[in-house]
Structures are given as structure tokens and as C-alpha cells.
């Protein structure tokens, strides 16, 4: 993998990542990952990435969910992708791996019934720093203020 490729591994089958570089696609495929989910907004970049990722044998999904205003349907779609049999081992990426960390935390709370403390502990164990945790807290507060308290499903 390239030196500046940011990654966190909360589970053996999910890699939360920053922007992969061209040389990373083949390395991800070699490492056993099968699907890439990109949540960045740039469609043009995503088209190029899809070409490179698919050439390396990866399945590529682009979901430009709004970073500033995540809604329950975005987390539900993430859950559906994670749990789809065709997904396999997933690389879930944005630019700096912070937004995907936030979405992973919301997914744990909304779809596994985890408390925020449990979800944060998993992200800390994966290597996220205190700046990232501050972002997760602030943005999760905003999410639940707008959408109500988490309910396990």
C-alpha cells in the first residue's frame, strides 16, 4: 500500500480508509478485499477510480452521501451494502477516513444496538485519534438531534 494511505481495521472484513492511490487497488485486492465503497462527492474522480479498482478485480460502488447532513436512509443503505452476500470484504473510504469512521459508528449504534461508548471503543482500538473522536462526537450529536435517539434494528 502507498505510504500516505490511511487505514483503520475495526473488523477483519471491513477496512475504513482514506483516499486510495492508484497503486493501492491491486494491493487491496491481493489483501483479500472484494468491494470498494466510495462516499466522496466527486463523480468524475469516482469514474476514474471505478476503472482502476475494477481493473484490479474489485467491485466498485459510489455513494456520494452528504457529509454535512447524514440521514437514516444513508446509514440503512450502508448496512444493506455491508450485509449483502456479494460485498464480501469491504473497503469503505472517503478522503481522510474520518467520515467513514463516523458512519461506521452510526451503523453500529443504529443497526447493532451498540451504545456510543461501545462504538467509540471499537474505533479507538482500530487506531482513531482524539481529534477524530471529537469529530465523531460532534457529528453524531448533530445526527441524533435531527433524527432522534438510536434504536436498535
Amino acid at each position: 500500500m502507498s505510504n500516505d494511505f490511511i487505514t483503520y481495521k475495526p473488523t477483519p472484513d471491513v477496512l475504513l480508509a482514506g483516499q486510495p492511490q492508484v497503486e493501492d487497488w491491486a494491493a487491496l485486492a491481493q489483501a483479500g478485499y472484494t468491494t470498494v465503497l466510495n462516499v466522496r462527492g466527486d463523480a468524475e474522480r469516482a469514474t476514474v477510480q471505478a476503472h482502476n479498482a475494477e481493473a484490479a478485480g474489485l467491485r466498485y460502488l459510489h455513494r456520494p452521501w452528504p457529509a454535512n447532513e447524514l440521514e437514516p436512509e444513508h446509514v440503512a443503505e450502508l448496512a444493506a451494502i455491508i450485509n449483502a452476500p456479494e460485498t464480501g470484504r469491504l473497503v469503505f473510504h472517503c478522503r481522510s477516513a474520518t467520515r467513514v469512521g463516523l458512519m461506521w459508528m452510526l451503523y453500529r449504534q443504529l443497526h447493532h444496538g451498540w451504545t456510543r461508548a461501545q462504538a467509540v471503543a471499537e474505533l479507538v482500538a482500530a487506531g482513531y485519534d482524539s481529534d477524530s473522536l471529537e469529530t465523531f462526537d460532534y457529528c453524531a450529536d448533530d445526527y441524533f438531534e435531527r433524527n432522534g435517539a438510536p434504536v436498535a434494528s
Binding site: 457529509a67 447532513e69 481522510s96 467520515r99 469529530t135 457529528c139
Partner: protein
Amino acid sequence: MTSFDQTLDVKGAKCPMPLVKSRKAIGDLPVGQVLKVVATDRGSVADFQGWAKTAKNVELVGQETVNEGGQDLYLHFIKRTA
């Protein structure tokens, strides 16, 4: 320099916090006013462009980069349109 009505300092904040704070701040402005957002995250340039493309109530009226004490600051001027 683009004219503005209020300033939001999000220096040091990581994505998506600058966008979330800006969405909240723009909601407190009257329609037609401009919020100046001061960020240190280089990626905020593309992030604010993306937000303005998809949001129904904001327009990105300017972006500038300035250097202050050796640090690049990314300025985003967001107008509330609805």
C-alpha cells in the same frame, strides 16, 4: 475579498465537522446573507464545492486561500439563498 456578514472559525476541524458547523450556522442567518468560513483543512475546498452543488439553500459565492503565520487558511463564502 468577497463581502460577508458573519464569520465561522473551524480551524483545526476535520471533515465533516466544518460542513456540519457551517450548515448549522447558515441556518441562523437571514436569507441573502453570506457566511465566511475559515478552515485549515485543505480538503474543505472540494467539500464546500460539493455541498453547494447538492444543497438547495446555499450558494458558494467565493473561495480563497490565504497564508497566516505560515499556515494556509481556506476561506469559503456561503450565501443562504432560501
